[in-house]
């Protein structure tokens, strides 16, 4: 395509967050009336790229970016999202940015309302102009007509079906006369199938009207169907640009997931096929904000390490949190032929199930308490251990000697770097804090251990210690482990089976030795493709 025809060019974009390179020489070009699909795993750099385009404060606060952005061949560098919007870039987010109690019209024209003059304006200023409802209605209707969808301009957003809320968002961008480029960030994530179809049709229509669109989605089939061109990001780099019509989901998925693991994948998965089922999850629903679980069925076998993977926000974290009772859950969870009470952390812990939360600093640790107390805290509360009883149990006293002894044991065995076991938890690095969380779970001597994102935000050295420790716990103590992680490599290196979650449901369970492309396809909700190939 001719160079001059590009509406937006982002050339050679580099960005690092405190030395951590997240974008490397990324080039993104969008022609007028073109739909470009942007695909990549979490952390591949999609959102950082869009944040740079919009001039979000977080970019400027972390030292800006390298590279050049041209909009209609003029170099731009937006200082704030408002400037980007002014220049004609519209954004439709995954979460709705709408006022629930306002009508579609009021939301479409939010802060751009048509107004009428009155005498008070002279005294108190512009904001006392009255709203011109008729004019507003007209503008809303004309914005909606561009989309060619059914949307009642007078309906209150909170009473709308989800799809209509999404249309309201897009109509808002359409009301701005200047909008030339629309960024759709997972616009169909919350829509039903038919709503998503209408939404895609509307996007196509807008492109035909000359609007350029950057389309970000985890639903691969949609991206392939709607976009003219596909850009695949992996680890902050553009790995490939593809014509959508000349590729297959499998190719895209394998490009996206990419890497092969060199060393020893866990290969003993066969051993567990006949072992007994310790935990059976039936139709589990968990209301965890941002990690909604929508009816998961899953079986965990004795002695295995089961991995739960999937993209962020698809609900993989909700499973463990729901079973442990940290978020409202519904459904049936059977542990050793006994129904587990849901929404009751104390009872679940009492059954010998432990949990290492992904929220290390919030849920995992008492930051202002010393290491030793952190390690034994749950054991004291739930199992009544490390407690001396005086006067026949009337007074309970902490057994500080025993606590310190056990803590020292774990400090040694997990290589926790600290001055002594009396140091406060908040003074340690992320990796060492994570080790405390693990020690805290191990002290309970659990039969079943849930571990969520055990290596998130910790350095490489600590990562391998954490994974090694989990493996050892599994081998030496026979603890069944359910590990949730965003890092597929990590799951493949220690798990016996890996379940992939997409849109709140388990879409498939694969052995760690499976083709990386299959994992990619599952994460993108393309389970049919996988079944066809296996």
């Amino acid at each position: 395509m001719d160079e001059k025809n590009y509406l937006l060019r982002m050339e050679g974009i580099n960005k690092d967050f405190f030395g951590n390179q997240v974008l490397k020489d990324v080039t993104l070009r969008v022609a007028k009336g073109e739909i470009v699909g942007l695909v990549g795993e979490n952390g591949a750099g999609k959102s950082t790229l869009m944040n740079i385009l919009f001039g979000l404060p977080v970019i400027h606060q972390t030292g800006g970016y390298q590279g050049k952005i041209y909009l209609e061949d003029k170099e731009v560098n937006f200082a704030s999202p408002f400037e980007a919007i002014e220049a004609g870039i519209g954004m439709v987010h995954q979460e709705f940015i709408l006022i629930p109690g306002f009508t579609a019209t009021e939301n479409i024209l939010l802060n751009r309302e048509s107004t009428k003059y009155n005498i008070f304006v002279e005294v108190f200023g512009e904001r006392l102009k009255t709203l011109n409802r008729q004019e507003m209605h007209k503008r809303a209707v004309s914005a909606i007509e561009k989309l060619e969808v059914q949307l009642n301009p007078d309906m209150v957003v909170s009473e709308m079906p989800v799809g209509h809320r999404q249309f309201t968002e897009i109509a808002r961008e359409m009301d701005r006369k200047s909008t030339k480029l629309l960024v759709l960030d997972e616009p169909t994530a919350v829509l039903t199938e038919s709503e998503a179809e209408t939404m895609l049709k509307a996007a196509r229509k807008l492109a035909n009207l000359g609007l350029s669109i950057i389309f970000i989605s985890h639903r691969l089939s949609e991206v392939l169907a709607i976009s003219d061109r596909l850009i695949i990001l992996r680890d902050g780099q553009v790995v490939r640009e593809l014509e959508s019509s000349r590729t297959t989901p499998r190719e895209v998925a394998s490009l996206m997931v990419g890497r092969e693991i060199k060393e020893g994948l866990s290969k003993k998965s066969k051993e567990f096929e006949k072992s007994e089922i310790v935990l059976e999850i039936k139709d589990l629903w968990v209301d965890m904000p941002g990690e909604q679980v929508n009816g998961v069925d899953l079986q965990v076998r004795k002695g295995e390490i089961l991995g739960i993977g999937g993209l962020a926000g698809q609900g993989k974290l909700g499973i463990a949190n729901g079973i442990m009772g940290l978020f409202p859950a519904e459904g049936e969870v059977v542990y050793r032929d006994e129904k587990l009470p849901l929404n009751n952390p104390v009872r679940v812990l009492g059954k010998g199930i432990a949990f290492v939360s992904e929220d290390r600093r919030g849920v995992g640790l008492l930051l202002d308490e010393p290491i030793d107390l952190n390690i034994v805290f749950t054991a004291m509360q739930i199992q009544g251990r490390f407690i001396k009883k005086l006067m026949g149990g009337l007074i309970k006293w902490r057994d500080d000697k025993e606590i310190a002894r056990v803590a020292r044991e774990y400090v040694d065995s997990l290589q926790i770097k600290c001055v002594s076991e009396k140091q406060n938890a908040k003074e340690l690095s992320g990796g060492n804090q994570q080790k405390i969380c693990l020690a805290k779970a191990f002290v309970l001597e659990p039969d079943l251990l849930f571990v969520s994102e055990p290596t998130r935000g910790i350095d490489v050295g600590a990562k391998s210690v954490v994974l090694e420790t989990l493996k050892r716990q599994n081998r030496e103590h026979g603890t069944t482990i359910v590990m949730t992680s965003s890092e597929l490599e990590e799951l493949r290196s220690i798990c016996d089976r890996i379940a992939i979650v997409s849109e709140g449901k388990i879409v498939g369970i694969l052995p760690p030795t499976a083709d990386p492309a299959d994992f990619g396809l599952l994460m993108l909700g393309e389970q049919e493709e996988v079944k066809a190939s296996v």
Partner: protein, 379 residues
């Protein structure tokens, strides 16, 4: 949408009762208490009309912060203090009648604006805890007010009239007589219909204020306030200056409360310099809540229904208490009990309702996802 109609399947009557539980409770209470008290209808109507004229302005001043999502503004006490300062100066300068009232308002307004600005700025730093913050702020400013009046006036601030100052030469007396402006607004344009006097002047001021509030919701600023009230983040994303909008709502409320207190005191006829403003916030808020308002929604009808029910209870309860238990104090006790109790109950009810709504939402979301999955399976 079918799942939604299912969860709302309760009969409309049941829903009406649930959402108006508080006013209905009070009506039932009054149905028993009024005959017990033995007051004549004429007397009760007269009393209610007086109290409507006296209190409406103050209660209406609460509406705009509710619209801006800042809850019930206990900080109207600040406006009341500004109004009283205005009245003190008016007394000192010896201006009487309607010009006196206007002068008091003129002096009170800039003070109210400053106090409103202060309150608004502080409340912006306490988002989500506006009510308790505004209440404590009221206590704090009360301290400064009393210090100023007790030690500042007559020494630093020029007040000369002996009628106002304490015999020692500085500080304002505990009670001030407002004889010079007593009921001037009420008598401005008053008619009598068979023993019932109706202060049309005050009522036309109140009606004017209602029209103003209604008109205000139709302005750009009003629309911005509603947007900010429902979702600050969304409003900020749309480019609305959230903090400024919230501050403006508090300033308007404080200024209206200043006028409200002046109207209230001209009807009463005396100022308790150190106490008159104390309960203004609590009583106004209790009245509004009894009228069926909540922390997030308050309308003009809520104001009038609330004042009528609240004050009828006040008038009737002591006598009913005396008839029933032989003790009149029970009524006075009831008065305090009711106003604090109703605020506590309303806040608890509101929290509870929010929880129920959340639960309902979750069920709806689940049903919607299930339906979508079934659709997929069929299609």
């Amino acid at each position: 949408m079918k799942d939604q109609s299912l969860t709302r399947a309760k009969s409309p009557l049941a829903r009406f009762v649930i959402s108006n539980a508080v006013p209905i409770l009070f009506i039932v209470l009054l149905i028993f208490a009024i005959p017990l008290s033995g007051f004549s209808t004429d007397y009760l109507i007269n009393e209610i009309i007086t109290r409507l004229g006296r209190n409406s302005f103050l209660v209406i001043s609460l509406l705009i912060p509710v619209m801006a999502g800042m809850g019930l503004n206990f900080g109207i006490v600040l406006g009341a203090m500004a109004g009283q300062i205005g009245l003190i100066f008016m007394l000192d300068w010896g201006v009487v009648g309607i010009p006196g009232i206007l002068l008091a308002m003129l002096i009170g307004t800039p003070i109210a604006i400053l106090l409103g600005l202060l309150a608004g700025t502080i409340l912006n730093r306490a988002k989500g805890r506006e009510m308790v913050t505004s209440m404590i702020l009221g206590f704090f400013i009360n301290g400064i007010y009393q210090l100023t009046i007790l030690y500042g006036m007559g020494s630093l601030i020029p007040i000369t009239s002996n009628k106002i100052l304490l015999p020692r030469g500085y500080g304002v007396r505990n009670a001030l007589d407002l004889i010079s402006v007593r009921k001037v607004l009420d008598n401005m344009w008053s008619i009598n219909i068979s023993n019932i006097s109706i202060p049309l002047g005050v009522f036309s001021i109140i009606i004017g204020l209602c029209i103003f509030v209604y008109w205000f919701t139709k302005t750009k600023l009003g629309q911005d306030m509603r947007a900010v009230g429902q979702d600050m983040q969304v409003a900020a994303t749309a480019g609305i200056n959230v903090d400024r909008t919230r501050t403006l709502s508090i300033i308007i409320s404080t200024v209206l409360a200043c006028f409200g207190q002046i109207i209230f005191l001209q009807n009463i006829g005396t100022i308790n310099t150190y106490n008159s403003h104390d309960q203004v916030g609590t009583f106004a808020i209790a009245a509004l809540l009894i009228g069926g308002a909540s922390v997030v929604k308050a309308t003009i009808p809520n104001v009038f229904i609330g004042i009528t029910l609240f004050h009828l209870t006040f008038i009737v309860a002591p006598r009913a208490g005396k008839e029933l238990l032989g003790q009149a104090q029970i009524g006075e006790f009831f008065r305090v009990f009711v106003s604090y109790g109703i605020i506590a109950i309303s806040l608890a009810l509101y929290a509870w309702r929010r929880q129920v709504e959340k639960e309902t939402e979750r069920r709806q979301a689940k049903a919607a996802i299930k339906a979508a999955i079934e659709d997929k399976a069929e299609g």
